[in-house]
């Protein structure tokens, strides 16, 4: 209901006679070596609106927001705030002009307290005195968090907080600096669906106070849920600006990708589900900072089945993938592949047992970035014929093998000798998938397989994962993207604080149900 009236309201505000827009970017162009990140972008946001900036990875959203926050200087174009031209030489100029940003990777000083982080860089208010008055700033931050209903202990240190709480600190920082224009870059990536709802309510109330909220996202339903208007970026250009009332997820997706896309939910992979291929029994492991990251994980994946592990980042998913694939030693429990237990802590043993791994960090862990594509695709097979003969590598065999995979997986590259680091994210992922599949795995562990990829690449990767399941591979999919999980998985296990807190059938599961589990609310036992 309110959406319709608000939309009219806003279009009036944009009219010639109304108040000037809070933000007006005119003809912004920014070039990086070999990339035109922003191409004459025009963008306007009114006071009191939540304005979504929608686009795929690499569409230029982050560059545009970095220009608005003074981190980058545009090569061409003008920034106008409330009808006045501004020129930002540094982030401080932008902060003083009332622009604040919540970055996707938080800009927080981890050993500092909440209060110290909030006042950091302040040169005008309580935090600006030469001496730091701990109690005064803590009181001020406490008041602020109470006033906006964002509870967080001002004396807590950042490393003690959950990611959702850390995000609240970032927003408090913006409020403390009296930001009138708040930019949030993919803010829901670290939240459960319920936490996202709370965030949206906060953003709405901030807009109701007359602030401007710019919400960067590539998730259509979120944009639909929170924004008044949306501007779609594609290939560095602003393609369209529409009110939410005029937009449907389908029309937005088409604008974002540049063609019609199928955004239907689930597709069958047609794999025949058989016996248990991967079994985890009370699996325990220690995290990077000490402390148990896995506290007795029990899970099984059958042949031809895709089992997804959902959860908010940092609840042990990465450690789970590393432990199963032998990259991290286990401290207790057992991993069995087709009934045979592994010793653990030995990646080569895991490979030998038929476990393939598509890691989360594809450039750092998935490939050796400076080595050629050819060398990268034989990283797991170079010890045996036909890649090696005795101690010698057969270079021609490597080249032929790589050329074959490049062709079969449609990797866009200059050839097998190109270093892996030159590939785009999607092509890099294809190389990793090609290598892992070519070892004829029995179990496939994939973590965040489509993070940072564009829609076309996501479709390709999903198709390969479905093919793997159809061919009888047991796929363990670890992802924070619920859409991806619901599109691929047969079963969803939810991980919270190092444990599997519940399992649901993907066919019947709802986002709410999974969201509650992600927040650690356990299934009631009958």
């Amino acid at each position: 209901m309110g959406q319709q009236t608000q939309a009219v309201d806003l279009s009036e505000r944009r009219g010639a006679g109304g108040a000037p827009p809070a933000v007006s970017l005119r003809g912004i162009t920014k070039r990086f070596p070999a990339v035109l990140a922003n191409d004459a972008v025009d963008f306007e946001a009114a006071p009191g609106e939540v304005h979504a900036l929608l686009g795929e990875n690499g569409a230029g959203k982050s560059t545009l927001s970095n220009i608005l926050t003074g981190l980058y200087r545009p090569d061409e174009g003008e920034i106008w705030l409330y009808g006045e031209r501004v020129d930002f030489h540094s982030p401080r100029d932008a902060i003083d002009a009332g622009v604040a940003m919540v970055h996707q990777h938080f800009r927080l000083v981890v050993p500092f307290t909440v209060a110290e982080n909030v006042v950091l860089g302040d040169h005008r208010r309580e935090g600006s005195s030469f001496l730091v008055h701990q109690r005064a700033i803590e009181r001020r931050v406490g008041e602020l968090s109470k006033r906006y209903g964002m509870h967080v202990d001002p004396r807590a240190r950042i490393w003690q907080l959950s990611l959702g709480e850390q995000q609240r600190v970032e927003i408090l920082k913006a409020l403390y600096h009296e930001a009138k224009i708040l930019i949030l870059d993919e803010p829901t990536a670290v939240l459960t669906p319920q936490e996202s709802e709370v965030l949206f309510a906060t953003l709405r109330s901030m807009a109701a106070e007359g602030r401007t909220v710019i919400f960067i996202s590539h998730k259509l339903h979120e944009v639909k849920a929170v924004a008044d208007r949306v501007t779609v970026l594609r290939g560095g250009k602003a393609i369209a600006t529409t009110t939410m009332a005029d937009a449907t997820p389908r029309s937005l997706a088409a604008l974002m990708v540049g063609r019609e896309v199928d955004i239907t939910r689930r597709r069958e992979h047609g794999g025949e589900i058989g016996a248990a291929a991967l079994e985890l029994d009370e699996l325990r492991a220690v995290g990077d900072r000490g402390g148990e990251a896995l506290k007795g994980v029990a899970l099984s994946v059958r042949t031809g089945e895709i089992v997804a592990v959902a959860g908010v980042a940092g609840n042990g998913q990465r450690e789970l993938a590393e432990t199963v694939t032998g990259m991290r030693p286990m401290t207790g429990g057992e991993v069995r592949v087709h009934g045979r237990p592994l010793r653990g802590g030995d990646a080569r043993e895991a490979i030998g047992a038929g476990i393939a791994h598509v890691p989360e960090d594809r450039l750092g862990t998935g490939v050796a970035p400076s080595l050629s594509i050819g060398s990268n695709v034989v990283l797991k097979s170079y010890r045996r014929y036909p890649i090696a003969r005795g101690p010698l590598l057969r270079l021609r065999a490597i080249r032929d093998h790589a050329a074959d995979l490049i062709k079969r997986y449609d990797v866009r590259t200059s050839g097998p000798n190109a270093p892996a680091r030159q590939l785009s994210g999607g092509n890099l992922q294809k190389v990793v998938l090609a290598r892992e599949f070519s070892g004829n795995p029995r179990v496939l562990v994939v973590a965040a397989p489509t993070r940072g990829l564009d829609v076309a690449a996501i479709e390709t990767v999903h198709a390969y994962l479905r093919d793997a399941a159809a061919a009888g591979v047991a796929v363990l999919l670890i992802s924070e993207d619920l859409d991806e999980i619901l599109a691929l998985a047969d079963r969803v296990a939810v991980m919270f604080d190092g444990e599997i807190v519940g399992e649901v059938d993907a066919e019947t599961a709802t986002v709410e149900e999974i969201g509650l589990l992600m927040a650690g609310v356990r299934e009631r036992t009958p």
Partner: protein, 314 residues
Amino acid sequence: MNNSILVVVLASAVLYGTPLLFAALGELLAERSGVLNLGVEGMMLVGAVMGFWAVQRTSSLALALVVAAIAGGAMALIHAFLVVTLRANQIVSGLALTIFAGAAGLSSYLGNDLNLADQPAKRIFHSVLPKSLRDLPVIGPILFNQSLLVYGSWVVVIVVVLYLRRTRPGLNVRAVGESPAAADAMGINVTVYRYVHTVVGGALAGIGGACFSLSITPQWVDGLTSGAGWIAIALVIFAFWRPGLVLIGAYFFGAFSALPYTLQAHGVTIAPELLQSLPYVMTVLALVLVSSAGAKRRLGAPAALGLPYVREER
């Protein structure tokens, strides 16, 4: 009683610990801003030779300290330019500076060119407190029979503690060392903070070097710091980047440095080579103990230590 071996060792621990304390506090400031400076040894030697030159020319100890600080600071400015502006590898730059300035390098050249060798210092730092205090049992020789350099170093410890913990620039520099991206996003100038703290750190190293040529030795000998700069770097790690612990650690290592001389003077016959190697052995042990990656994180090393800061470009 004041001649007992323990009192003598403790008194000389304070004397020999003072240059370590200055240099380590300087290194701590640089490291807290995220700059690892392995050029401390070179900066100490340049400070020692220039401070000694100044006192021979002007007979003023105050001026000598100023010159030593400027010399050390100037060396550190080179380091800052290389690693902050040009984003060179901090380890390579620091090592290069120590080799360039150290024994058989710039400091030797200056010392020989200015004919400083084999001269007694015209003035040196003496104990300043009245005899009644100095003669107090035990604490007299240890705490009160010391020069202004020692008392000055205590002031510097207090200033650094308060600066880092209680002031806004102190908060900012800790933020720069932990997370330059966070600091930058909040409008703190990472480059300026790193420059200032590296240069001030170098100045303190210069003063630390002057402690040798104006108080301990007190003359100019090539390579007279004999590795004190390296001990200072280890000391910062050993003290978990906390200035208060640096004070204790400096006297601990000072005791080991002084031990060979005092024991010899008391007629204890242990091979002096063995004793002389002790501070270095301790340094290596300290580094081994704390240099595993996990330990480093737990012990409070600034998270961005050694890493050049670049605003993310695509």
